[in-house]
């Protein structure tokens, strides 16, 4: 075991894959010698050469189009989009191409070896265009897997699983935690399962669900609630698509109360999809309405970021409201 921050864990996973698979290729804007603007690909070009880790021109649709072709050819492309806010020029390549490649060809061709890494999320004074959490757009697209880790251990295990999974994966990295989140990470190879949520804290009164950087916020709210004698069960969804209905439904069936929290705006966010499904699965067990604690329905602000975000106090309030409903 070693102490790693989330970036080091990502870098370690990429190193692991590039060492074992000589057809694994990392590329994106500034990914080469510089190692990416966040340094996630640091040292990889020196180690594996310019043909396997390189800068691309500044064209996101080109990056993902190129990656789709490489994956269809049988290579293992790991493409970086510098910020999730800038993934939209590549939206067509992801939604109409990556996601549908296998289905539309009747499995004659696929891009299962494709992984797209991209930093997402707020809390870094990044304003509109360095803070967004666009996971719901991709969750609406059958054929993609969407994965979000919450800490360095999860990041390495989930990224290795994503790269080796035989489906295209969009891997959202919580950039606020890149250096802030430090933990024990095994040096050796390991994988964590996709499509499986994780119960990170057992509890009996209420279920709290989140993913990525929002997990930390939810845990903080649960501590406040614990001081009031409320026992929270906390779940990390980990994979947004396809999501683990069973683990969440089992927990809510047990607790009877449910708060789901996301960084992204409220309307049509993935929390809404979860709320609808859990309402159907657990209707007779619910003691209170399902609460969604989310960003507001505005573009991501700058000066008023603190007010905008779904912070621990808003979640704490939602927990208390649910308990006293």
């Amino acid at each position: 075991m070693a102490q790693m921050n989330l970036l080091q864990a990502i870098n370690n996973a990429l190193d692991t894959v590039m060492a074992e698979n000589d057809r694994a290729v990392c590329f994106g804007e500034d990914v080469g010698h510089f190692g990416g603007v966040f340094r996630a690909t640091s040292g990889l070009q020196e180690k594996y050469g310019k043909s396997r880790c390189f800068n691309t021109p500044l064209v996101e649709q080109g990056v993902i189009g190129f990656a789709n072709g490489l994956a269809a050819q049988g290579s293992t492309p790991i493409a970086e989009i510098q910020f999730a806010d800038y993934i939209f020029p590549a939206f067509d390549q992801i939604v109409n191409e990556s996601a549908k490649f296998r289905y539309r060809s009747g499995n004659e061709f696929d891009v299962g070896k494709l992984t797209i890494r991209t930093p997402y999320g707020g809390g870094i004074a990044g304003g509109l265009y360095h803070s967004q959490s666009p996971e719901a757009y991709f969750a609406h697209t059958p054929g993609l897997k969407v994965v979000v880790p919450r800490n360095p251990y999860q990041a390495k295990g989930l990224l290795l699983a994503s790269i080796r999974d035989d489906n295209p994966v969009v891997f959202f990295e919580p950039k606020r935690l890149y250096r802030a989140s430090v933990g024990e990470v095994p040096e050796e190879d390991y994988q964590l399962p996709l499509g499986k949520a994780e119960v990170v804290q057992q509890g009996s009164d209420i279920t709290l669900l989140a993913w990525g950087a929002q997990m930390e916020i939810v845990e903080k709210a649960a501590e406040l609630a614990a001081a009031d004698g409320i026992s929270c069960e906390i779940i990390d969804l980990r994979t947004i698509l396809p999501w683990d209905v069973e683990t969440v439904a089992n927990s809510v069936t047990k607790t009877g109360r449910f708060v789901v929290s996301q960084e992204a705006p409220l309307t049509a966010g993935f929390a809404s999809e979860i709320a609808a499904t859990i309402q159907q699965e657990c209707f007779l067990h619910l003691e209170a309405p399902i609460a969604r604690v989310c960003g507001m329905d505005t573009p991501y602000p700058l000066a008023l970021e603190k007010e905008y975000v779904a912070d621990h106090l808003k979640i704490y309030e939602a927990i208390k409201n649910s308990m006293t409903y």
Partner: protein, 394 residues
């Protein structure tokens, strides 16, 4: 950082534009319409066997297109796209390649797939979306694909195959294969962002791709002079620092020569090439289109005189490699075969309901399996409303 442009450009001291049309681009012509060869023309590598195969493929293409447009008019299939008048671009492209080369087409290049040997049954089963379609009945007619024949399944969104070809070819080169990727698109699709992304990616990363633009004058109803004002699409290859060639797209020998040259260069140098083939879409964009609304009969008649298949036939006759008896027999046989194949394929069952959820992922996730089970229960409840599948649900 490379400072060549700053340090080595010729210097002027009065502001002056260079003209947007200052790059002169010649057009390669080898074969005249009467079947004779231009003086000093350099012939492609083509023997009697390759020529005969190429000509028979062109004939098959023409017959299949005629018959399937008719089948659409009769309501037997929903949609069709003919390549009337520009068959040489796709057939000649495949004839200039090797079988291991990947073909990433736009949608009007069925000729390349015919050349590779995709069977008449395979074409039919795709168009009738039946359970023997390789694509499992998921895409509209003409969206063919075959892993075995290195022909990437067609995708309707325009231009998406262009950056993909850059990536595909990069992978071929990384593996050290004797293989390239040819990427077809029209002059209309060359306005898409993916065109510019793809050409630049291929040029910068040195992918062995042959970008093959079929400039057929129209994007549905929009004429090419409303699509761009530069010197065609070829001038853009120059802009991306790429070897570029413009050819007569109705001249099968020019197509084969250009693709052979491009292939040799792409493999040897590991770099991309752009070919712009000038042609004309004699038919409608698709069976849903009517060109009489946007162009004249006179214009079409002028291009009838450049028929690429007749041009090749004239050459074959002049070579003594073909005669009118063979011609009549071939077309009769092809028409009979196509008609017979229609009658077989249209009777084959639609795909089973289970195919709704396969291939979305490598394995259907639980949520999707649940949706299929719910659907089956529903179909059993209202079998008359779902006649293709109701009787086959276990």
């Amino acid at each position: 950082m490379n400072t060549d442009i700053y340090n080595e450009s010729p210097v002027v001291h009065q502001p002056a534009f260079i003209d947007g049309h200052s790059v002169e681009i010649p057009i390669l012509k080898i074969l005249k319409q009467d079947g004779s060869i231009y003086e000093n023309a350099i012939m492609p590598e083509i023997d009697r066997e390759l020529a005969t195969k190429t000509y028979k493929t062109l004939a098959f293409h023409r017959v299949l297109d005629e018959r399937m447009v008719a089948a659409q008019r009769q309501g037997r299939i929903s949609f069709y796209m003919a390549a009337l008048g520009e068959e040489a671009a796709s057939v000649g492209g495949a004839a200039g390649l090797k079988d291991q080369d990947m073909i990433m087409a736009q949608y009007r290049e069925q000729g390349a797939l015919m050349f590779r040997g995709f069977s008449l049954e395979n074409f039919m089963n795709q168009m009738f979306s039946n359970e023997q379609d390789l694509g499992k009945g998921r895409q509209m007619p003409i969206h063919y694909g075959s892993n075995e024949l290195n022909y990437m399944t067609i995708s309707s969104p325009l231009g998406t195959q262009i950056p993909q070809a850059a990536g595909y070819a990069y992978g071929q080169k990384m593996q050290g294969l004797d293989a390239v990727t040819i990427c077809y698109f029209g002059e209309g699709a060359a306005s898409e962002g993916d065109f510019h992304a793809g050409l630049n990616m291929a040029a910068v990363h040195q992918s062995p791709v042959i970008f093959f633009c079929r400039n057929n004058g129209y994007a549905i109803s929009t004429p090419s002079d409303e699509q761009y004002v530069g010197n065609g699409i070829a001038s853009r290859g120059v802009g991306y620092g790429m070897k570029t060639l413009r050819i007569d797209g109705n001249d099968i020998l020019a197509v084969i020569a250009a693709v052979q040259l491009a292939r040799e260069y792409a493999v040897k140098e590991g770099k991309p090439v752009l070919i712009e083939a000038m042609s004309y879409r004699l038919g409608a964009h698709s069976t849903s289109d009517d060109p009489s609304g946007y162009r004249t009969r006179e214009e079409e008649a002028k291009w009838q005189e450049h028929d690429p298949i007749l041009r090749m036939k004239n050459w074959m006759l002049a070579q003594g490699w073909w005669d009118e008896v063979q011609e009549t027999a071939l077309f009769e046989k092809l028409r009979d075969e196509v008609l017979a194949a229609v009658k077989v394929s249209e009777k084959i069952d639609k795909p089973p309901v289970e195919d709704l959820i396969t291939d979305v992922y490598d394995q259907a996730p639980p949520l999707l399996q649940g949706q299929l089970e719910q659907l089956k229960v529903h179909i059993k409840k209202y079998p008359d409303a779902y006649p293709f599948t109701a009787g086959r649900i276990k």
